[in-house]
């Protein structure tokens, strides 16, 4: 391999550095209107009237749209596949508002400033309804109307065989609670919609994770043929799951159609934090039972989850969580009881890792406690219980293949100087009256596709240009981590072409093949494999055409760089250009290939993180002193980008463990400013170390690749949280471990 495994700047790095790359908010269309939203100011209630007269009186206002003057279009923000039968629970403009930030009206004007001013002039009256803002209030059902139940989903799932004998087993129970998280993609949510009333065609441009998903939702909502709705994925300034659910696109589509003008809808940060989606809160009790030697025998999980204002994906999310529980450790028997409630708070939804990080926090918190109860070294306890090559995921039944968690633990413990650090911490803590240090480890697993929960496939098309360069049509949705470059590398590797010879654009329903979207970490593993297979098919096609030109058979030919040579006549060299010209000029056809790949595996992919922290027991502030992330990645396509993604996941995990939380005030207002939602910034992070273990190759991924984007986030918060507990000798299960919570714990438990 000459390209795969060698680090490359991503495809648009130069344009981004120059400030030339265009994001959706940078687009301008003729006659374009700018849209500003009016959001609910009450957590639960009926909109009884909307008075837009003052807004409409402003010069330059084109229209105000709300539930009393616009057809009731409904959709389900989570629907990303045509086959999902989800209730269209969410109206574009709500009559019954379900949280502060629910959409009430949209104002379109000649410029954003005018639209914003007009939006502030729209008078909305509400008839308030009782609201639930906490788990307790939601469980009581105080926000339920007639016919509604406080429990929106409940199920029990058992996997494996229960232990025949409880006797002699050591049970460890831990309580874990997670607050709401903001994705904090730096680019706010945007959609530019353009409606052509003469052709009845709608074009939507937005940074999103599934162009076909949006098409399904918007076309069905508006009753338009799918073929007349074009969705184009624009350069995405980060997503982390927040651009996997559709909130701005349906609104922009409706307003553009009503107005018969192109419109641009940009949410500001406050609106993104309040009104798009957050990672929802969860409360869990987990019991693990061990044999005295530390072998995990069984596990019980009782989980309560809050969907927020709309159910959206929350029911699916908690079902998924059960499966994610079995992706790292050998759990002979697991029993899960899950309840889902719906409060009047921001909507819970997709977040990087899709429940793997949540369940990892529960697992690792319990595991950490178990290590203390069993008096075992945390690394040793994990070594005893991690899934090994040849074992299967008991939930899906699929082989874990060449999983390398064991190797991650061993390599990480050595590189992080685990034993020495733990010893030094003890000495430091004995000597320091104020600061406490702790070193901890956490493992976590994820998937590479949603198979076998649903069938998963991808299609790719390629054509060779007259000069031998190649155009690729594939529906990728680059989140900003260089999927485009990774795919160019995969294709260039297969065709033995330089990267510049491969042109590959992002998803556009008008041009690129059907695809489910870039989520579930399926981008490289599934779609990337399809691209590799398609390139191999194009190679065959090149050989076929070359054989016809040379009047021989393909088996007498071979590739030598980007050219074809003959085994029989060493002097013959055909460039791709020669082959392409022959195909076009003589055979009257273009050199093309079309391939699909339906995935049949989902190998184990895990990460093991090591964190070293120092807690100031006088102020409750925690400093991350040192951090190492070791990942079982299979073949990394673009290694430095993988490392950068892992470091980003660690940044996010440190934030989730220590300070990031959307809080809900007693009147239902949620944190909606980055001044109050504290991301980790440059001075607060150490030089995060990354090790990639690359010999645990997958059978199906391109060149043996496995996923990295989501799994990298899975063990991060658990590692930091465990290090804090190790430092304090505490058993905090609530993240984020803010200074206030740490001080409360110290006051309660002493240290």
């Amino acid at each position: 391999m000459h390209l795969v495994g060698v680090s490359h700047p991503i495809q648009d790095a130069r344009g981004k550095a120059a400030g030339r790359t265009r994001y959706a908010a940078d687009l301008v269309l003729p006659r374009m209107a700018h849209v500003a939203m009016v959001f609910s100011t009450v957590p639960h209630g009926y909109v009884t009237s909307v008075d837009a007269s003052q807004a409409l009186a402003l010069e330059g206002v084109y229209g105000v749209f709300h539930c009393f003057n616009t057809p009731e279009y409904r959709f389900n923000r989570y629907r990303s596949q045509y086959s999902q039968t989800l209730i269209p629970e969410e109206p574009v403009f709500a009559r019954r508002v379900r949280f502060v930030g629910d959409r009430v009206a949209a104002v379109a004007a000649r410029d954003l400033e005018t639209a914003r001013r007009a939006a502030a002039l729209v008078q909305v009256e509400y008839q308030p309804l009782p609201c639930a803002l906490t788990f307790e209030q939601a469980l009581e059902g105080i926000n339920c109307l007639e016919g509604e139940s406080p429990i929106r989903d409940e199920f029990t799932m058992e996997i494996g065989t229960p232990p025949s004998l409880e006797e002699g087993l050591i049970a460890v129970t831990a309580h874990t609670e997670l607050g709401r998280l903001h994705h904090a993609a730096m680019e706010p949510h945007v959609c530019v919609a353009d409606y052509d009333p003469d052709l009845d065609e709608l074009t939507l441009r937005s940074p999103n994770q599934s162009v076909h998903g949006i098409r399904t939702v918007v076309a069905d909502m508006l009753g338009m043929p799918y073929s007349r709705v074009r969705v184009v994925k624009t350069t995405m300034g980060g997503s982390f799951g927040s651009k996997q659910e559709w909130t701005v696109e349906p609104v922009a589509a409706v307003v553009a159609r009503q107005l018969r003008r192109p419109v641009k809808l940009v949410y500001d940060r406050a609106a993104v934090m309040r009104s798009i989606v957050c990672r929802g809160p969860m409360r869990a009790e987990m019991t693990m039972r061990f044999q005295p030697d530390g072998t995990l025998v069984s596990l019980d999980l009782d989980l309560l989850s809050d969907a927020g204002g709309y159910i959206a994906n929350s029911s699916d999310y908690v079902h998924t969580l059960v499966g994610k529980m079995f992706r790292c450790y050998r759990i002979p028997y697991g029993r899960t009881h899950v309840r889902l409630v719906s409060s009047n708070t921001p909507v819970s939804g997709s977040f990087r890792g899709w429940s793997s990080p949540e369940v990892a926090l529960m697992l690792e918190h319990t595991m950490e406690k178990a290590a203390r109860v069993l008096d075992m070294d945390p690394v040793q306890l994990r070594l005893k219980n991690v899934l090994l090559p040849g074992e299967r995921d008991p939930k899906s039944g699929l082989p874990m293949e060449e999983v390398r968690t064991r190797e991650c633990l061993l390599l990480g413990a050595e590189r992080f100087c685990w034993t020495e650090k733990r010893r030094e911490d003890a000495a430091f803590n004995a000597a320091s009256p104020r600061f406490r240090r702790g070193t901890a480890v956490a493992c976590g697993g994820h998937g590479n596709t949603y198979y076998p929960r649903y069938n998963d496939f991808a299609g790719v098309e390629m054509r060779m240009c007259e000069d031998g360069s190649v155009q690729v049509e594939v529906s990728i949705h680059d989140h900003g981590c260089g999927t485009g470059m990774a795919f160019q590398m995969i294709v260039a590797e297969a065709l033995e072409l330089p990267i510049q010879q491969i042109r590959l654009k992002e998803a556009d329903t008008a041009h690129t093949p059907f695809d489910f979207g870039c989520y579930a970490s399926r981008g490289t593993f599934v779609v990337g494999r399809a691209a590799q297979l398609c390139a191999l098919k194009l190679r065959d096609e090149i050989l076929n055409v070359a054989a016809q030109k040379l009047d021989t058979t393909p088996d007498r030919l071979y590739f030598d760089g980007p050219s074809v040579r003959s085994k029989d006549s060493p002097e013959i060299t055909l460039s791709y250009k020669d082959v392409s010209w022959y195909a076009l000029g003589t055979l009257c056809r273009e050199l093309t290939a079309q391939e699909k790949h339906a995935v049949r595996s989902n190998p184990g992919v895990t990460g093991t993180h090591f964190a070293h922290v120092e807690v100031d027991t006088w102020t409750g502030l925690t400093r991350v002193l040192d951090y190492l992330a070791v990942h079982d990645i299979g073949q990394s396509i673009n290694p430095e980008m993988c490392a950068a993604q892992v470091q980003g996941a660690v940044q996010m995990g440190c934030g989730a463990a220590l300070r990031e939380e959307i809080e809900i005030s007693s009147n239902g207002q949620s944190t909606c400013s980055l001044a109050k939602y504290h991301l980790m910034n440059a001075p607060d992070l150490p030089d995060i170390q990354v090790e990639l273990i690359q010999d645990g190759r997958s059978q199906e991924g391109p060149y043996g690749a496995k996923s990295i984007g989501e799994v990298s986030f899975v063990p991060a918060a658990p590692a930091v949280a465990a290090a804090v507990n190790q430092a304090l000798g505490s058993d905090m299960g609530r993240i984020p471990m803010t200074p206030d919570r740490i001080m409360e714990t110290i006051a309660k438990e002493g240290r």
Partner: protein
């Protein structure tokens, strides 16, 4: 008001509102969309530009503060089709992912190197403390600035 100021070394005259934000003037009136809006409240740093060679938030700067002053945006760094050393180092050190923080990050780094041509990694982290990146752990970004400083060898 009539506003006379300089953008990327060119004299610009505009008829505008005194409370119009520099960010909107750049992006909407002058078409310089390399400057990004990430939070509208001076917290994320994506809109950072140089005002008389100092890093400032263009989202918190009004037309009424710009009379006669020099603004440098990301578009002003590239000279004759060649990226500034900082821009090139960001590309080569793999310091760019989604790119939305990148231009602001580079402008903050530029301001740092104008004042302190040989910064330590700690000084770089402080200079970038007002620029949030959600994709990375800042490792490559700090490396890129460090390398740019080395390559410039004190020249700015």
């Amino acid at each position: 008001m009539k506003l006379d100021f300089f953008v990327n070394e060119e004299a610009v005259t505009l008829e505008t509102q005194p409370q119009r934000r520099l960010l909107d003037i750049l992006r909407e009136d002058l078409g310089l969309t390399g400057t990004k809006e990430g939070c509208s409240e001076g917290e994320c740093g994506a809109c950072t530009v140089l005002l008389d060679d100092l890093a400032v938030h263009s989202c918190l700067t009004l037309a009424a503060q710009l009379q006669g002053r020099r603004v440098t945006t990301i578009e002003g760094l590239e000279k004759n089709g060649e990226l500034d050393i900082l821009q090139r180092c960001f590309v080569e050190e793999i310091a760019i992912q989604c790119g939305f923080c990148t231009t602001g990050m580079i402008m903050s780094a530029k301001a740092l190197l104008l004042q302190n041509p040989h910064p330590t990694p700690e000084e770089i982290r402080t200079a970038l403390s007002g620029n949030l990146c959600r994709c990375s752990g800042y490792v490559q970004i700090v490396k890129a600035v460090s390398r740019a400083a080395d390559e410039m060898g004190g020249r700015v």
